[in-house]
């Protein structure tokens, strides 16, 4: 028998498959003109792309009136936020740059190309900007570089500090932006009706994430609970919220919260935030539940065998693993939340979309919808793209440990 069995080559003889190399013509042939219908598709789509691109570029460089954006840039960014307090918004950005720089140096050492591109961004923007914005952008760039340098120098010791920094950052931002006390205090109060533009969009997102997270985790745990009443209540809440559009929840928060809590004046922004948090928590709960279901039974049994009670088991053994498993999905949900905040314009808030509407009502800039909404789309697009790029890196990094 052994004589007829073909002998397997030893390890050394097995060569890796040859890497494919093409000439330019060969590449075209393989990827664009492999069959007659592929060639046809290539020709048709090239023609369409060329036509569309030419039309767009012609419009963008000759007809479009981009001054509607440049004149109103401040409105788009911070809305009616008082000029005397703009430094607070910049301070938030500078702190963020410092934190990103620190974290990049600690956790993203081998993403050097990305770091250079990202680090150069504030300086490039500073060339385009004017006056205060230019100075502020330069400080942002320097802060990022300082954070990066610090972490290269003392990365191991700073790990803990930067985690604490991220946790403290979000409450700090809200404190900085809203301020407290009278007009003569160090941080005079800025009422929420003055918050606007991209600033409001980002704040709605941040508040949505920070507050819906614990609520969502609690709901997920409740849905997995062995107590029938708790489980039923959580299921009802999650399914009702997931079955209705966000805009109805926002409307409910806007119209019914004042009825529910008479005597307490809750302003419009806070009502919108409440609506977003209530809505987002239900979706977050479902994502976290996915993570909980992925934990093998053995983990529960092992935790029990170690003598941990239910709360300790959940907090120390189950939740850390479950949350780690769903981090990429959660980032995806936060991107969706960021996009969804645009709906607050329907209940009359001046977020990025609200400002766009207001700008289009200016007599100087009537009928410039294409320019304004393309700019708004670009701003949303850049933020979403950065977040999803971050989540892909994170996913790659987290899967390394498995």
């Amino acid at each position: 028998m052994s004589a007829t069995t073909p002998s397997l080559p030893s390890r050394a003889e097995v060569l890796p498959p040859p890497t494919e190399r093409y000439t330019a013509l060969g590449w075209l042939r393989k990827n664009l003109f492999s069959t007659w219908y592929n060639a046809l598709l290539t020709v048709i789509f090239s023609a369409i792309v060329v036509l569309l691109l030419r039309g767009f570029l012609e419009w963008a460089f000759t007809q479009a009136r981009w001054e509607v954006i440049t004149t109103n840039l401040r409105l788009f960014m911070v809305g009616q936020y008082p000029a005397a307090a703009t430094w607070r918004a910049w301070a938030c950005v500078i702190l963020l740059a410092l934190l990103i720089g620190l974290s990049w140096g600690i956790w993203g050492r081998n993403q050097r190309a990305g770091a250079i591109a990202f680090g150069a961004l504030p300086f490039l923007l500073a060339i385009l900007a004017q006056d205060e914005a230019r100075v502020a952008l330069l400080i942002v760039g320097v802060a990022g570089a300082v954070g990066f340098a610090l972490s290269r120098w003392r990365g191991a010791q700073l790990q803990r500090i930067s985690i604490i920094g991220w946790v403290v950052y979000f409450p700090l931002v809200i404190l900085l932006i809203s301020g407290f006390g009278g007009a003569d205090g160090p941080l005079p109060l800025v009422t929420t009706n003055l918050w606007g533009g991209l600033l409001l969009t980002l704040l709605l997102t941040v508040v949505g994430i920070v507050f819906s997270f614990p609520l969502g985790v609690l709901l997920a745990l409740g849905r997995q609970s062995s107590l029938p009443i708790v489980r039923a209540l959580c299921v009802i809440y999650i399914e009702v919220i997931r079955g209705v559009p966000l805009i109805t929840v926002l409307f409910m928060a806007q119209l019914m919260l004042p009825l529910f809590l008479p005597g307490v004046t809750i302003d419009r922004v806070v009502r919108a935030m409440a609506g977003i948090v209530l809505f987002s928590a239900a979706y977050l709960a479902e994502n976290v539940r996915g993570g909980l279901q992925a934990i093998p039974r053995g983990q529960y049994e092992a935790a029990r065998a170690l003598g941990l009670n239910t709360w300790k088991m959940m907090l120390l053994i189950i939740l850390p693993q479950a949350l780690k498993a769903v981090i990429p999905i959660l980032v995806g949900q936060f991107i969706a939340l960021f996009k969804d905040t645009s709906l607050v314009v329907i209940v009359g808030l001046l977020d990025l979309m609200g400002i766009a509407k207001a700008v289009l009502a200016q007599p100087d800039f009537l009928g410039l919808q294409a320019e304004v909404y393309l700019f708004v789309a670009l701003v949303y697009g850049v933020f979403c793209y950065l977040m999803s790029a971050f989540s892909q890196r994170l996913e790659a990094r987290l899967s390394v440990g498995r």
């Binding site: 990827n31 664009l32 492999s34 592929n38 598709l41 290539t42 789509f45 090239s46 792309v49 062995s226 107590l227 029938p228 009443i229 708790v230 209540l233 009702v240 997931r242 079955g243 209705v244 559009p245 966000l246 805009i247 109805t248 409307f251 409910m252 119209l255 019914m256 004042p258 009825l259 529910f260 809590l261 008479p262 996009k339 969804d340 645009s342 709906l343 314009v345 329907i346 979309m353 919808q369 294409a370 909404y373 393309l374 708004v376 789309a377 949303y380 697009g381 979403c384 793209y385 999803s388």
Partner: protein
């Protein structure tokens, strides 16, 4: 029992549930009490009786007869039908476009592949609201007036919307509807018969084409046999400020439909791509080794397996599309949510209207889920 009863696990669980229930019920009670008190102060009594009052406002477009003398309830029905119309059309079109995008994403043609990727990334990174308002204000409202309408063959584009030829029903139309029903019945009968024959003989028989043929034959013969054609085709004619004849779709409807379709198609494209990629390569190779050709491999081996992965996320995309259709309010299409907003403005009945609207969306969502779950059970792998 050596342990005290309050240390017993069963007691603790029972007590915990009672406490949670008491907290939730207490909270609900306080909130409802507060609401009742505030409403009483404003002099509003809760109740749905007002739905029978005359609405007194006009609605831009309606599938059923509606005037401003009709009741609020009928206005809501108009809104609901508009929501359902745009959702159903949107779901069908988004599925078709989504499958094309998903397959394009897997194309071996580099250009097609990259364009599909670009389309998906563009749609996924921009809020739907921005897309809708952009399509509405920067495209449809910027089209020329009806007099200078852009003509694409018999279809006209103008700021009054899209005008296209349409069939006007005549007196024989109701009879023709019965003929169509009969044609569908016969086609189903033919398909069942052929399938039974295929199963008995064990040989592949053509099923789809004969069934379609049966349907077409009866439909055509019925059309010709009637004394008067059931539909007369009218083409749009440019009148003073608007079109006469044909079907005119408003810019609001078209912007909403196009926005929902391309936005959802990008997500469906990713779902389809993931589904097809989830079928192991070995399955295709095994099918080819069994002698199936390319078409039969796709039809009998790849699609049935991909479908199992595709259906659940596809369901949630359908639900998203239906819920997203409520953004119609931002561009002035009178869907359920927009109509209810008008009613709230007119009557101040916020609580009742929110309850109605949420209830309707919830029912539609549940119905869609039920339907798709039933279909999912049908295509699911039967394991023993």
């Amino acid at each position: 029992m050596s342990r005290a009863f309050w240390r017993d696990d069963r007691f603790i669980q029972f007590a915990a549930q009672l406490i949670v229930l008491a907290i939730v019920a207490g909270l609900a009670f306080v909130l409802v009490q507060n609401m009742a008190a505030s409403l009483q102060r404003q002099g509003i009594a809760l109740g749905f009786g007002f739905l029978d009052n005359a609405a007194g406002f006009d609605i831009g477009e309606s599938l059923i007869r509606y005037t401003n003398a009709d009741t609020f309830a009928r206005a809501l029905l108009v809104g609901l039908l508009n929501t359902l119309l745009v959702s159903v059309l949107g779901i069908v079109l988004a599925t078709v476009l989504g499958v094309i995008v998903g397959i394009a994403r897997l194309s071996s043609n580099w250009l097609v592949n990259r364009l599909a990727w670009l389309f998906i990334e563009l749609m996924r990174n921009v809020p739907l609201l921005v897309l809708l308002i952009f399509i509405y204000t920067a495209f449809f409202l910027k089209l020329p007036r009806a007099r200078q309408a852009i003509s694409l063959g018999p279809i006209y584009l103008s700021n009054r919307g899209v005008a296209m030829p349409w069939g006007e029903p005549t007196e024989t139309w109701p009879i023709y509807l019965y003929i169509i029903i009969a044609a569908v019945g016969s086609a189903a009968l033919a398909a069942t018969g052929l399938r039974l024959w295929q199963e008995r003989s064990g040989r592949p028989k053509p099923i789809v084409l004969p069934a379609l043929g049966t349907f077409a034959a009866i439909a055509v013969i019925g059309w010709l046999a009637l004394p008067q054609p059931p539909l007369t085709i009218t083409t749009p004619q440019i009148a003073a400020f608007n079109f006469r004849g044909g079907l005119v779709l408003t810019p609001e409807f078209m912007a909403l439909l196009i926005g929902l379709v391309i936005y959802t198609a990008a997500f469906i494209g990713e779902v389809v791509r993931a589904g097809i990629q989830s079928v192991p390569k070995g399955q295709v190779e095994a099918a080819r080794a069994l002698g199936l050709n390319g078409r039969r491999t796709l039809q009998l081996v790849v699609f049935p397996q991909a479908l199992r992965v595709i259906i659940p996320p596809l369901t949630s995309q359908y639900l998203n599309l239906t819920k997203n259709s409520s953004l119609a309010v931002a561009i002035g299409y009178p869907d359920l949510f927009a109509v209810s907003g008008t009613i709230i403005n007119q009557t101040g009945r916020a609580v009742e209207m929110i309850v109605v609207v949420m209830g309707v969306y919830l029912s539609v969502s549940l119905l869609t889920s039920l339907l798709m779950n039933w279909y999912n059970r049908r295509v699911r792998l039967v394991e023993r």
